[in-house]
Structure formats: C-alpha cells, structure tokens
C-alpha cells in the first residue's frame, strides 16, 4: 500500500518504504534512542539494525487514507525511557508533517531493548 493524494495537477504517491525511511531517520536523531530493532521479534532477539536497513524497525500501516506507524527502538540505559519515547513520537510526527505533509494517525513505540553503554 502507498499513501496517495491528488492535487490540481495530478496524483502524488508516496511509497510505504519512503515513509518508513523518513520516520526511521527522524527517530535516529532523537536523543536517547541508540538503535532500531528488527520487527520480526518471534525469535526474541532485539538485534541492532545498521543504517542500511533501519526501515526494518519501522512498520508503516496505511488503511483508508490513515497512516499509522510502529517503531521498534532500542534506548540508552540511564535515560528516562518514557520521555525518550515521547520525544521520538513528537519528532517523527513533526518531520512527516513537515517533509511530506502527512498527518500520522497513530505512532506506536515498542521499546525492544536497552543498551548499556561503556560505563555505568
């Protein structure tokens, strides 16, 4: 599925992958978030994803013109996880609105892991 809308000149289609990538990049810039994890969690391993496949941690769902997102994130130990998650939601929503003009209906955050840094 993709998100599409029409203006006076024609139709604009945005692939799911694009939304996932922009959301992923926006999230990556959030303080406290240190990685995305794969969405296939059946094996129970929260693997850190590299830059190339960060979109695997972002699930985009487009239904009846409504875009919802699910982000699987890994958070730095010692941060206020709730606040970090809030910041991620805020930033992703803002960037999607600003860069592609999409109003996101719902953003769900799954904190899949906590990374303990070198100290502490």
């Amino acid at each position: 599925m993709e998100k599409e809308w029409t203006n006076e000149y024609g139709k604009i289609t945005i692939a799911q992958e694009v939304i996932a990538k922009i959301a992923g990049l926006a999230a990556m810039e959030c303080y406290g978030l240190v990685g995305m994890s794969s969405r296939n969690m059946q094996d129970g391993i929260a693997d850190l994803l590299g830059w190339d496949n960060l979109t695997k941690g972002v699930l985009v769902d487009i239904k009846d013109d409504q875009v919802s997102l699910e982000l699987n994130i890994i958070v730095e130990y010692g941060t206020n996880i709730q606040e970090v998650a809030n910041n991620v939601v805020e930033r992703v929503r803002y960037i999607l609105q600003e860069k592609i003009g999409i109003n996101v209906d719902k953003i769900n955050i799954n904190v899949q892991g906590v990374r303990v840094g070198n100290v502490g």
Partner: protein, 562 residues
C-alpha cells in the same frame, strides 16, 4: 567578567556547601534565561519549549539535592542525576539528565571537589551524553558540552584555580555555541544559536556566579513551577492603525489587478490583505499612515466603507479590561459601562477548514473568522493553523478541522500557540455547522467547546464520493470509479449513480429526522440537486429539505440529518 580580579584568592577545592550554592545559583540563571532559550528553539522540533523543559528538568534535579541532608559531593551529584532522570522533559531535558549522570559518575566517592575532579567530570558528562544518541548531530548542546570540557582541560594545564577554569570553560562553551548556526542549517535559517547549548552555557555561568557569590538565590525561586504558567510576552504593536476600505475601481484601472495593488501597498505596513472581484477591491492593512492608504484608494477609484481602528488603544483597553476583571465585581456599574465600550470584537475567534466556495461562505455567514482551504486529500499543515491563530484578533480560539485527518495538525497547532486554542474534533461540515449553531460568546472557552462537542454528537452525516481505487470494505466489493455512500465516516453503500446511492443511504439510515440539509458539490448543478430533493421528499414523505450550493470538490453530496 574579569578573571584576574579573583585570582588573588585562588580556589583549588570546593566543599559541598559552596557547591550547593553554585547549583542553586545556576538554577536561577537558567530560570532567568528560560524565555530566551524558548525563543531559540527550532531544532529538533520548533515548539519553543527547550528553555522551559531544561529548567523544569534541572529544577527537579536540584529539588532532589535539597532533600539531602548531606553535603558530600558524590551524594549531591548522584541526587542531581537521579532527579534529572526522573524529571526529564523533552529532548533537551533528557540530554541534560545524561550530562548530569556522567558528571556524577566521575565523582564517585568524592566528598569535596578538586579542580581535577571538576575537569574530569565535565569531560565525563559530555562523553556519557554522546553515548545516548545513535547519530550525534553537531551544533547542539552535545557539541557545546564537548568543547566546554576541552576548555576546562586546557585551563587546568595553565592554572589550578576554580575561577579560572570555570571562566575558560564558559569562554569555550560560548565560542562553541556561537558556531552552532554554521553546523546546523536549521539554526542558520532561523538565525539563532542552539537553544539547548544556550541552556548548558547558562548553567555553567550560573555555577561561576554562585562561586563568586555575585548572585544570591532566593528560596522562593526554588518552588515547583508548573509549565503552564509560562507565557510569552505580548507582541508589541508595530503598526498602530488597522485600516480597511473598499475601492470601486475606475474603468481605466480595471486592468490593475489585485496582485499589483498588493505590491503597491506592501511597504506601508503589515497584515496586508487585498481581495476583490471585477472592479471592487477590499483592502485591509495595519499601517501607521492610514491617510496614505486612503489617498492610494482615491487614485484607483472611489472609496467607501472606511474603517480605521487604533489597535494600540485597543490592546491597552484589553489589558485594562483584564486587570479590571481580576479586581472582581467591586464597583460594578462604572466598569460595566467601560466593558461595553471596549467590547469592539468577539471574545472568541473561530477557524474552520473546508473546500469549496459555497461551504466557505456558509461557514463565514455562521461566524467563522478564518476559513483554511483544505480537506480530504489536501490536509492543511500545522503551520497554516499557527499562522491563522496568530492573525486572529481574539486570544481565545476554537478550531473546527472538519476532517479526521486534519484533527491532529489542528491539535498540534493548538499546543504550539500561546493563545488559548481548543480543537473541537469535527469530522465533516455538518458537524461544524451544528457546532457553530451553539456558538455563544458569553461562556468560557471550555464550556463552549463542551457545548459544541455535545452538539456534534447529534448530527448524522451522509456523504457520497467516488472510489479512487479498488478495495474491499466490510464485505462490499468496491471498484475504482464506483460511487460510494458514507454514513458517519463508514462506507455503507456502493453503486453507480449519485441519486440511487443517496436513496439507498436514506433507506439505510434515515430515522425520521426532521432537519435534512443537502450541500451539493461543484460537479452537481442546481437542477439535479432539486430533483434529488423532490425525489427524497416524496419517497420518504419528508416535509422539507434544505438545499445549499456547497461547491465542494470530491463529494457531490454532503447531507446532514438532525
């Protein structure tokens, strides 16, 4: 500040009491700078709350220190870190909490603070903060903290003295802060330095001021402050006169189009609006020279409906009115008279979203102050709402989004604005219209919102539109190009003919409602709409149906039942 001045009194060790004083003073400094920092906030989300967030985070941190009865440095800094962690707000708050966490980690088992300790702690603070983000963006508080630590290290090599080290640290931090616009395009564009970085600098400056004993903190300042109490200072009025007029253009000026008039006038003030059709043009401008504007109008034709209001006076009167209100109902009589005089406009403004000239006009007639163009497949941005809110005279505003997908943008705008803005979650035009019918300028904004929300529950909305793609909903097979009938946002009927779909919809959901209104879209002519009305009245034995020309795109018919 002069470093030398304090050099005669070298300080190489700081005890817990002094440190506590430094912390309290830095909190005060941050509080003083809070509004400034808020105004710098453009990254990562320009919502103008960085200063407030940092202050509230730091406040919680310091409150944790206040609860301690120990004056050992390690216990104080770990309390600081704990408080910041629990109280972290916003991105900058979380970063600050990590900085403090790093700071405290470096000071384990220290009961006093030496210069070496401080330098190490500043470095550790920055290091720990950097670990908290996958892709550190340079030009933020992180950069400032790193450079500040470098400054501290450089200073330690040349002088073992707290005053000197802190002053150099601040110097480095300030330089780093001033470079942030070069590192982060968003800052450069807005011509500001990084807000979080400014916050960190303020804390460092406060620490030094506390050490020098230059500032005394007041116990009162340490009470918990709720974020809501923060209010931006009122914007100063640059142009005094709100000037409005109509110009009946001379024949030879017809070619002079609206854009040209707009160009001619734009240097005379702000909030310029030029609208018109054929040979009548309406001009609205805030200017200091209303006479010039009138003269300009005379050159173009004859003018009428002239209105010139002194906005400075109005805003003063508004302020007076608010002061009076607070003084309760003491000498009621004379005040009432004053109120009547100053009541030049509605207390509450309304912003609504729709498409189609007919619907816009209907909304305007019902008291909407600003209609934003948008709707299905053309959602207005948060920014459009923010601009609209800013432009309205009223300080209390209701937004009617009129589309499910627009509600969140409206809500976001509401949270960004320093005016009182409430969003009544209308999902379509009929809901907006029924909400507008209960508008009452006398009640409070909350009461009005509640009344409107109650009212929109009572209206049933039926819309028809054309399917843009093949899909399957609730067992209905929908092909691209089919006409679909929607009842309260749910697709219920599929067909191939507007009229038939409407009739099917009535079959399905009409429950003897008496107030039926049809708004027909741009693709429908009046005759078709009247035919439909007649058909419906006869088939369902309805006494009266109102029909309005909505001119909306995409939805040939929008029908409300109440």
């Amino acid at each position: 500040m002069s470093v030398n001045e304090d050099r005669h009194n070298l300080k190489t060790v700081i005890d817990g009491k002094t440190f506590k004083n430094m912390l309290f003073t830095s909190l005060m400094t941050l509080k003083e700078q809070k509004s400034l920092i808020d105004s710098l906030n453009v990254f990562p989300v320009p919502d103008g709350d960085t200063g407030t967030n940092m202050y509230l985070t730091y406040l919680e941190a310091i409150n944790e220190v206040k609860k301690l009865d120990s004056h050992k440095i390690d216990r104080m800094t770990s309390a600081l870190a704990k408080g910041a962690l629990m109280g972290a707000r916003g991105n900058s708050g979380v970063i600050l909490s990590q900085l403090l966490r790093g700071f405290s980690q470096a000071l384990k088992d220290k009961s006093d603070l030496t210069t070496v300790d401080l330098v190490k702690a500043l470095r550790k603070a920055s290091e720990v903060a950097y670990q908290g983000v996958l892709k550190p963006v340079e030009g933020t508080i992180l950069t400032v903290s790193r450079k500040a630590a470098s400054g501290a290290e450089a200073a330690l090599k040349t002088g073992d003295d707290f005053y000197y080290i802190l002053a150099t640290t601040i110097d480095y931090a300030r330089k780093a802060l001033n470079q942030t616009p070069e590192q982060l395009p968003a800052l450069k564009e807005a011509e500001v330095v990084d807000a979080g970085g400014q916050g960190y600098l303020s804390i460092l400056e406060g620490m030094l001021a506390g050490l020098q004993g230059k500032k005394k903190y007041h116990q009162v300042d340490l009470e918990i402050v709720k974020p809501k109490t923060y209010k931006k200072p009122e914007e100063e009025i640059k142009y005094t006169y709100c000037t409005q007029l109509l110009i009946n253009m001379n024949d030879n000026n017809r070619s002079k189009n609206i854009d040209e008039i707009r160009n001619d006038l734009q240097n005379y003030g702000d909030s310029l609006m030029v609208v018109g059709a054929d040979n009548i043009v309406k001009i609205h401008i805030h200017t200091n020279h209303p006479g010039v504007i009138l003269e300009y109008g005379l050159k173009r034709g004859n003018i009428n409906d002239i209105e010139i209001d002194n906005m400075k006076l109005q805003s003063e009167e508004k302020r007076k009115k608010e002061e009076e209100k607070q003084r309760q109902e003491f000498n009621n009589k004379s005040n009432d008279e004053l109120y009547d005089k100053v009541k030049v406009k509605k207390d509450k403004g309304i912003i609504a979203v729709t498409q189609g000239n007919g619907l816009k006009k209907i909304l305007n007639d019902l008291g909407v102050d600003k209609v934003i163009d948008g709707g299905q497949s053309m959602n207005p941005s948060t920014n459009q709402f923010v601009e609209a809110v800013k432009k309205l005279d009223s300080s209390k505003i209701i937004i009617l989004p009129n589309n499910k997908n627009v509600i969140s943008a409206a809500k976001q705008a509401a949270s960004l604005s320093d005016k009182d803005v409430e969003v009544v979650s209308t999902k379509n035009i009929p809901q907006a219209i029924s909400a507008l019918l209960v508008f009452n300028d006398e009640v409070s904004l909350d009461e009005l919102k509640e009344a409107m929300e109650m009212e929109i529950e009572n209206v049933k909305t039926v819309e028809i539109t054309t399917a843009v793609k093949n899909s399957k909903v609730k067992g209905l097979e929908i092909k691209k190009g089919n006409i679909i009938g929607i009842i309260d946002s749910m697709i219920e009927i599929v067909g191939n003919d507007y009229k038939q779909v409407v009739i099917d919809l009535f079959d399905k959901c009409w429950e003897e409602e008496e107030l039926i209104t049809i708004y027909y879209g741009q693709d429908i002519n009046e005759e078709d709409a009247e035919n439909l009305k007649a058909e419906l009245m006869e088939r369902f034995d309805i006494d009266e149906i109102e029909v309005y020309r909505g001119e909306q795109p995409l939805y040939p018919y929008i029908i409300s039942m109440e």
